[in-house]
């Protein structure tokens, strides 16, 4: 997907700083940020920063990758439950894909996710690495 710079820039708080919404009434945390708490309809919230460790709740290894990631395939994708219970999705890196499994403890690191050649936009966000790495 063509990534114009404004579209990329708008995501900086989430992608660069892991900012999430914590709603006042429910105390629930949502990532990415949203305007309304889906459970209570509450609009009052504060910005919190997500923890940077958690464990894999499910994963897959993409063997047939979109052209954008063609050179990096096969790569692992995972849904990780962070220490505060929030779940985030992302790519695994710096690991042997055969070692990726449910329950694996990971750390979120700030990495380059995409380089969009046509518009020269480099997009950064979290990737997961094994915690011991």
């Amino acid at each position: 997907m063509t990534m114009f710079s404004s579209r990329n820039w708008r995501e900086y708080p989430q992608r660069y700083r892991r900012e999430a919404s914590k709603f006042t009434k429910s105390g629930k945390v949502y990532f990415p940020k949203r305007l309304v708490d889906p459970e209570t309809g509450d609009r009052e919230q504060e910005t919190v920063v997500l923890p940077d460790t958690g464990k894999i709740v499910t994963y897959t290894v993409v063997r047939i990758a979109p052209a954008q990631w063609g050179d990096e395939g096969p790569y692992a994708l995972a849904i990780v439950e962070l220490e505060d219970g929030t779940k985030v999705f992302g790519q695994m890196t710096d690991c042997n894909i055969d070692e990726v499994k449910i329950g694996l403890e990971v750390r979120l690191e700030f990495r380059r996710v995409q380089s969009e050649a046509a518009h020269g936009v480099l997009s950064y966000a979290h990737k997961f690495v094994p915690k011991w790495y």
């Binding site: 499910t58 994963y59 993409v62 063997r63 979109p66 779940k87 999705f89």
Partner: protein, 386 residues
């Protein structure tokens, strides 16, 4: 609310149909449906199409398509809910007739997926996932269903054989369907040894990229009777939504939108899952059929896989699922799929399923379940012999 009936259906050729454009495919299915129904006009049309814009750069479809059907002037609109677009088009037509606003409405669906590269098609399909928080990280559709498959296997002990059994059964049924894209049988070994796409899903766990269209004529009882053609009654229509981002769901092993849609359709119909005799469900991937069978309440969580493996959902089983061959064998032109499911139920309930695909003992009641994306939307219809 008025009662709503289906009095005719039409299907184009399905597959890699290089000879036909999107408008030709749709015109073919639409005119067949009108002829099959024996009506002399339609009051309006709802067309399901996921993304003509991304596949062939064509939006504003409903006007284009009514024009090529020779029916320019009638009100028509395109309906979109990713891969559930077709089912939602049926629902829109249902509502228009139930409301009393129109007497005869066409619900159709179309997708032209092979006029672009495989890469572009993958990108177009990925638009049904969260672009900023899934696709951005390299998610593919097989990848998203693979995430659910691994979670389901870990929680319930669902096995490779259970996944393979879905593909084997659906290809068996599809081998008797004259419009199926892949009308051949596959073995358990062939599925398990086919190329790995996204662990644990192999290529034979996945539905294909397909060109195709389907159409159905919905109408009042008076209209249906007057045609002299076989017709069925829509007893219930239900739809539901959920987060499109998979990671935001509380439970990765169930499709909540399908549960909501089914519950709502059953309530309208005054029926339960126990009353259903067969179902056409959204098997975009083998794991999807297992999860949907549980989400609509047919099997307890974790029990659908073993039931499918034991043949309970075969054509001659206690509860046949996907007698058409499903998305797996019949093909999956995304916007058309939900309408084609309805077409199959129409054929089964009117005893017109071809080539030995007819469910034994003339079923009287059946259902469809159509799904968008990784389960962000779902639509269920319940139909009965009129």
């Amino acid at each position: 609310m008025r009662d709503v009936y289906i009095v005719g259906i039409g299907m184009s050729k399905w597959g890699e149909v290089w000879q036909q454009s999107l408008r030709d495919l749709h015109t073919d299915a639409a005119l067949k449906a009108i002829e099959n129904a024996g009506v002399d006009h339609i009051d309006g049309m709802y067309t399901g199409c996921m993304t003509g814009g991304m596949f062939i750069g064509q939006e504003h479809l409903a006007s284009l398509l009514t024009d090529y059907m020779g029916m320019s002037g009638i009100p028509a609109v395109r309906v979109e809910a990713a891969c559930a677009s077709g089912g939602m088009a049926i629902r829109a037509a249902f509502i228009e007739i139930a409301s009393g606003m129109s007497d005869i409405v066409m619900a159709s669906g179309v997708e032209k997926m092979t006029d672009c590269s495989g890469e572009e098609a993958t990108q177009a399909l990925a638009a049904a996932a969260d672009q900023e928080y899934e696709v951005f990280h390299g998610a593919t559709f097989p990848g998203l269903y693979a995430l659910m498959a691994n979670a389901h296997m870990a929680k319930y002990g669902t096995t490779r054989d259970m996944l393979s059994a879905v593909a084997v059964k659906n290809h068996h049924n599809g081998s008797m369907n004259p419009v199926a894209q892949y009308p051949f049988k596959v073995s358990m070994d062939q599925v398990a040894n086919s190329v790995m796409v996204a662990d644990p899903l192999h290529i034979l766990d996945c539905s294909p990229i397909t060109d195709g269209a389907a159409a159905a004529i919905l109408c009042t009882k008076e209209v249906a009777k007057a045609t002299g053609k076989p017709y069925i009654k829509i007893l219930g229509s239900g739809a539901g939504t959920d987060t499109i981002q998979l990671s935001q769901r509380a439970d990765l092993t169930t499709i909540k939108a399908a549960t909501i849609a089914a519950d709502s359709a059953f309530k309208m119909a005054g029926k339960t899952i126990k009353d259903m005799q067969f179902a056409e469900v959204h098997d975009c991937f083998s794991i999807a059929e297992i999860m949907v069978a549980e989400s609509i309440g047919k099997f307890e969580p974790g029990k659908a896989g073993p039931a499918i493996l034991n043949g309970e959902t075969a054509l001659d089983g206690a509860f046949p699922m996907n007698p058409s061959g499903g998305l797996k064998s019949k093909g999956h032109p995304v916007g058309a799929t939900g309408v084609a499911q309805i077409a199959e139920v129409y054929k089964q309930l009117t005893g017109q399923a071809e080539n030995g695909r007819q469910i034994p003992n003339s079923p009287k009641i059946g259902m469809t379940q159509n799904m968008g994306g990784s389960g962000g939307s779902s639509v269920v219809h319940i139909m009965e012999v009129a």
